[in-house]
Each structure stands twice: as C-alpha cells, then as structure tokens.
Symmetry: C2
Subunit: 360 residues, 2 copies
C-alpha cells in the first residue's frame, strides 16, 4: 500500500530547476490521491506559463513512478496564488520578477544611430531566419516612440496576456515572441510622448517583466540615436553584441560610426555591419539601380574593423509584406547566410541571468 | 562751435531698437572728437555681430548730422567689455543672453517621428528654397545624436566663432546660418552619448546662446521620435508650426501619425505633410518605380486634416550632393512651390521673443 507520505518524500527529491529548492519545500505539491497502484497529484506552479513546466512534471512523475507499487501517475497542474508566491518570494511584487523564469541564451541588438536605414527590417528578418532554422526566438522592440515590429509580424491587432508573474509576449505565426509598446497601446498610432527616464523604464520592464521563457536568441530593435534607449539596452541587458545597419549614403555612414563608437565605449562587441537599401532592381531591365548612390559599406566595415555581413536590396515586396504583418512570408533565402554568420559570431550573453531568489 | 554736450544730447534721442534704451544711457557713446564741422565718434556695441548694427549707426549719424553746423559724421565701432555689459545686464553671464539679440520671425520644425524618411533633406531643401527667394534663413539642427545638416551644407569642416554674447552660426555658401552639434565636436563621427536632459539642454542653448541675428525663417530639424528633443522644441521654442515628413511605407505613416498626435497635444499647428522617397526614376526607361510601394500620403493627409504639400522622388543625385556638402547646388525648382506654400501658411511665432532686459 502506497502512502501520501511516500509520495511526498519522493517529490521532495525533485528540485525546481530554477528556484533550486524542492517541490515540497516550495509548497508546490497540493492534492495527492492514491488508488491502488495509481497516483494522482496536483502540482501548483508559479505560473502556468512556466517555461520549465514540462521538465518539472516529467521529473515529478518519474520520482513517483520509481516508488515500489506505483504503476500510473497523473499530474494535474494548478497555479499558485499571489499569497503562495509571496511566501516563497517576499519581493515578488517588485518589478523584474519575470526575469527569473527566463532563460535567454543570446541577446543581439540591432543598431544604427541613423533612422530609417532598416534596423527593424533587419531585426525582423534576422528573427525570421533564425526561427526558420529551428531556434527559439524573441524580439524586444526597444523603439518606444516609433515601434515598427508589431506591424511587421501581425496582420491584425494583438494584445499580450498578463500572467501573475509578468506579461506574456505575443507569438507570431511561426512562433516568434514579440514585445513592443505598440502591443500595449490603445491604438497603434497613439503617440508615446515620454522623456528619457520613462523610455529607459519601459525597456527595462520589457526585459524584466516579460515572460520570455527559453530563448536561443532575443533580438533587440533599437531606435535611432545614441541616447537613452541605446544607453539603457547597452548598460542593462546582457548583450552578445550589436549588429550595425547602414545605407549607402555617406551621411548614414557617419552616423553609424557614432553608433559604433558608442558600442566600443560601452564595451559591447560589434558583430558586424549590414548595408540595407543597397540598390533597387528595375523590373523592366533587371538592372541594379543604386538609388542612394554607390555602396560605401566595404570601406566602412574596414574602418570599423568589423565584418560586412551582407547587402540587402530595396524591394517593394518587402515593404508590402512589412506593412501588412506578413514579413514571415518573405523568402528569406538571401538573409539566411547573414543570420547563420551572426549565429556563429554571437557568443552567449555576458552576465549571469539567474539571480538566486532573495527568499527569507 | 559744436560741443560734445550737444552731440551727446543728440545721441540721447537714439534708441537701441532692441534694448529700448538710448545710446547714452546704455553707455554706448565713447570717444567724441569735434573738428570744425566734422564729428568723429566711437560707439561701443554689445557685440560687433549685432544684427541691428547698421540701423544703430545710421540713426546715430542722422541724429548728429541734424545738429546745426555739422557737415560730416564718422562713426567708429567698438565692442563693450564684459564689465560694461554686466552693468547693463547684471545677468548677462546666464545662458540665453544671445536670444535678446535675435529677431526670428518664423520658426518651422521639420518632424516625422520615423527616422530616415528625409526630415533633414526636407529641412535643407526648405532652407535652400527660402534663401533663393531672398529670405534670411537659419537651420537649427536639433538632432543631437544623429546630426545630418552640416554634412549637407559644408564640403569641408567648419568651426563656429564664439563672440562675447554667444556663438555665431556658420554661414553656408548662399548665406544660410547653420548650427549643429557636429560643428562643435572634435570630429564629425564622434558619438554624443547623452541622456535626455543633456539633449534638451543642448537644444535650448542652440536657441538661446546662438547669435542668429535677424531671420525670416529658422528651420528646426528634429530627430526621429516623440521624446526629449521633440518635447523640448515644442515646449521651449516659439514655433509657427511643424512640417511632417513621411515615406510611402504604411509603417512610416503609422509613426507619422504619432508625431501628428504629439503636435496636437502640445498645441503646435501642423503646416502640412511632405512625402519623400515617393518613387525612383529608372534612367533607361524613364518609368517611375515605386520602390517603397504605392503612395499613401493623400489618404494620410486627409486623415490628419493637413495639406499635402508635395511628393519628392528618390534621386541618387540628391544623395550625392547631400553627402558632399553641396545641397545648395541642387536645382530646387521642384521644391520651390512647396517652400512658397509653407511660407504662406506659417504665421509668425506665437510668443514674444524679446523679454525686456532685467537691468537694475
């Protein structure tokens, strides 16, 4: 005859992989029903969006199944109440608690200094290409006053779901997790008239209060400039590095150099340079038209001592797809080698990302 | 026989048109030499860059010539010392003192919200077109982290001159007065890694500490976004209104709507919309290629209840001229009607711009 005590003892050997304490101690084991060789138990998770949910359930099941006489284990899931969580983490109401449930391998910021050279397009295509290769990918839209990412990924208006520990990003058609201020606004063309500290606060929340879960890559789309948003991302997020985007204009090159200098000053690696809007193709003659003048990106890459990852054409079709939330339909073959090169260069983030909970 | 006393009495009737006090009271009349019917006097101006210099000299000369027996008047100019000025304006060391010497009729901000749609190009062409019509024009580059204006107007590196009361803007080939952070940096690709308050401070100084002199139009080139720079310009400068710049991308339209909403919230008139990068022209077929997709600006202008001032093509030649400091060589015929329309719409600035000096 199996006893509840035996089951609890077995579960006391299962550790929550993030919280580093066992399930019993964490108060996760709720109802335990035993009927002959069948055990049915309820586990209360911190959040049903817990990215390690499957792992915890599997380990709990295995531990109970290992008991002599147990032939079948059924696990029901519940979610802890706010009080339960407060007991485990007295500081759980403080911002940044979602960060503990995230495991983000590499964080890549897409930057330019200059506006309108195609940072968001590069960020979007990079995410699409990495996702197509089977990676778990998220995009953090750090452009608070001019966010472009949701428009590219969602044909219709989306709203993020709020969980007890944080906000869930919105998933795109192919499973890319997206967070942007525009997903939180009443209407997407609402102005966000904020000075620097609010901008920085929003970006920090997008990092700390969003349940990203397990990601191989988080792509951060930066706004133009070398002010608050860029500073906050470079100082507060564990970046693998930045990708610089430029256009063939000499003027863009000058501003990109400013961005490169900022990254160098803040000790953030530059992974490479991408030239966007290099040329348009005339549909009648098939000829490449350098509508913004001849490319200067090779020289620029050499001056910055960074690899030139690629040159992208202007394509009316991309503009069309981006404007209608269908960037994932774009055949990203041209972009795939760029994404692969980047994936090779980007090293895992530079700082430990799991601070041990400050439980009393 | 003419006496010095007579000359001084005559000059006591001449008012400094800005300071609203007479030349004697202001201590401007220095040496007075009388030889028969000839009078030679020295006027100490607050600054030799004083925009009203010629007017003051002419009035002083006329006043003395009106004295019986005077046949010839010679006026030498000198500059007041710091002590002299301190006596007249005890607060002259405080920032913003140059503002008193400026007379700026209309201030037009060029804004977009979105980056890279051609704000700086529109700002530059607008200045060039207004200048060609004979107006006095200045450009205040409010894009502190990504300034583009100097590169458009100056083929070689320029340095502004500092005067006792403020900094003199740099004049372009055709006499457009330009101030930009890039004119003050050691090297033009140096990064300006500043948070919001410093950005705002710089813009306020560009308004208050620069001796713009008499201007019919001051064009303010705003950076992308609706954060510190835009807020400071809209809250601190006496704007006639803003010109919105968009591109054919739907995404740009969305962000431009945010900018329009900001202007509305801050009670700044929107003078009109300009669509840039509407199309490129294939050099072989002469056909218009809508490389960023079909234009959406008419609908956008209707939605915003603002006039559509014009649509500009992508021209490799403009990029080339802008990259080499020769924007003034661009035949701005296409832009001239836009500038004229704007000149009609823009009303003089909304706030008094000459605070009476707080002299003790």
């Amino acid at each position: 005859m199996i006893t509840e005590e035996q089951v609890r003892q077995a579960l006391a050997k299962v550790m929550d992989p993030e919280l580093k304490r066992n399930l019993v101690e964490l108060g996760m084991v709720r109802k335990v029903e035993i009927k002959d060789s069948q055990v049915r138990l309820t586990l209360a998770l911190t959040t049903l969006a817990c990215p390690l949910k499957d792992q915890i359930v599997a380990e709990a099941r295995a531990a109970v199944l290992a008991l002599e006489g147990v032939k079948e284990v059924e696990v029901d899931l519940a979610e802890m109440s706010a009080e339960d969580k407060k007991r485990i983490w007295p500081d759980q109401d403080q911002p940044g608690v979602a960060e503990r449930f995230n495991h983000i391998e590499r964080v890549i910021a897409v930057m330019s200094g200059k506006g309108g050279v195609g940072k968001s397009l590069v960020a979007g295509l990079l995410a699409v290409a990495l996702r197509q290769e089977g990676h778990q990918v998220g995009i953090l839209d750090a452009d608070i006053t001019g966010p472009s990412i949701p428009r590219m990924f969602f044909p219709t208006r989306q709203w993020p779901q709020g969980g007890p520990l944080g906000i869930l990003p919105v998933e795109s058609k192919t499973g890319i997790k997206v967070m942007s201020i525009n997903l939180l606004l009443q209407s997407e063309d609402q102005a966000v008239i904020w000075r620097g500290p609010l901008i920085s606060g929003a970006i920090k929340q997008f990092w700390g209060d969003i349940i990203w879960g397990n990601l191989d890559y988080l792509i951060v789309d930066l706004p133009p400039g070398t002010s608050d948003a860029a500073l906050t991302v470079m100082q507060s997020l564990p970046l693998s590095g930045v990708v610089l985007v430029t256009s063939p204009q000499g003027l863009a090159g000058m501003v990109v150099k400013k961005a490169a200098q900022m990254a160098a000053q803040l000790n953030v690696p530059i992974l490479g340079l991408i030239e966007n809007m290099s040329y348009a193709v005339c549909p009648d003659t098939g000829k490449k038209l350098e509508v913004f003048g001849p490319s200067k990106s090779e020289g620029l890459a050499r001056q910055l001592y960074v690899p030139l990852l690629g040159r992208l054409p202007i394509e009316p079709r991309i503009a069309e797809l981006c404007d209608t939330g269908r960037i994932e339909d774009y055949p990203a073959e041209e972009f795939a080698p760029i994404a692969q090169k980047l994936a090779e260069i980007a090293l895992p983030a530079r700082r430990p990302m799991f601070p041990v909970p400050r439980a009393k």
